[in-house]
Symmetry: C2
Subunit: 101 residues, 2 copies
C-alpha cells in the first residue's frame, strides 16, 4: 500500500505544530521537509544521528542527511508518495524531541 | 602545530596507492578527496558510518559526508592545511578496509 501524501493545507498545519515545539524551525522546500541541527561537537552530532538511524530502521523510513562535524542537515520526504506524509512529520518530531537543542 | 599539506606529486602518489587497493576509486576534487560508497541497505551504510565515526573521534579528523539510504558520499579534507594531508589518506584507507565492498 502506498502511503498517502499530505495536502498543502495539511502540510501547513503539521509544519506549524512542529515548529511550535522547537526553536529552529523546519521548512518545506519542494517535496522535502528540511532542518539544520547544530551540535557542539561531532560526538553529539553523531550520537543524535545514531538514535535517529535506529528509529529510522524501526519505522522503515529514512532521512537524507549530511554531517559536517557538529552540523547535521536533514531532508525528509516520502518517495513512494512523491511528497510529504505523516511519516516525515513523525520522524521530524522525533528528531526534535531527542536532539536536546 | 598545523598539519603539513601534501604536494600535488605526493597527492598523486597517495591516490594511486589508495586506488590500487579498491574497486571504486577515490578522486581528488579541489581540496577534497571524494568517494561514494554504495551499500545494500541503510543498516550496512550506517554501520559503516558508525565505525568511521568512532575512528574519526579517536584520530580527531572528521569526514564530511552525506547518507541517502545505502549510499554514503564522503569528502575528506584538512581545513588547517587548506588541502589534503596524510590524515585524509589514512582515514580513506581505513574506510576502504572496513567497508567490505
Amino acid at each position: 500500500m502506498e502511503p498517502n501524501g499530505l495536502s498543502q493545507e495539511e502540510i501547513s498545519m503539521r509544519l506549524e505544530e512542529l515548529n511550535d515545539a522547537c526553536e529552529v524551525p523546519w521548512c518545506v522546500e519542494g517535496d522535502y521537509l528540511k532542518k539544520q541541527f547544530a551540535f557542539k561537537s561531532f560526538n553529539a552530532a553523531f550520537g543524535f544521528m545514531t538514535r535517529v538511524a535506529i528509529k529510522a530502521e524501526k519505522v522503515d523510513h529514512h532521512p537524507e542527511w549530511t554531517n559536517v562535524y557538529g552540523r547535521v542537515d536533514v531532508a525528509l520526504t516520502t518517495h513512494d508518495a512523491d511528497g510529504l506524509t505523516e511519516q516525515d512529520f513523525s520522524l521530524a518530531a522525533f528528531m526534535d524531541r531527542i536532539s536536546g537543542l
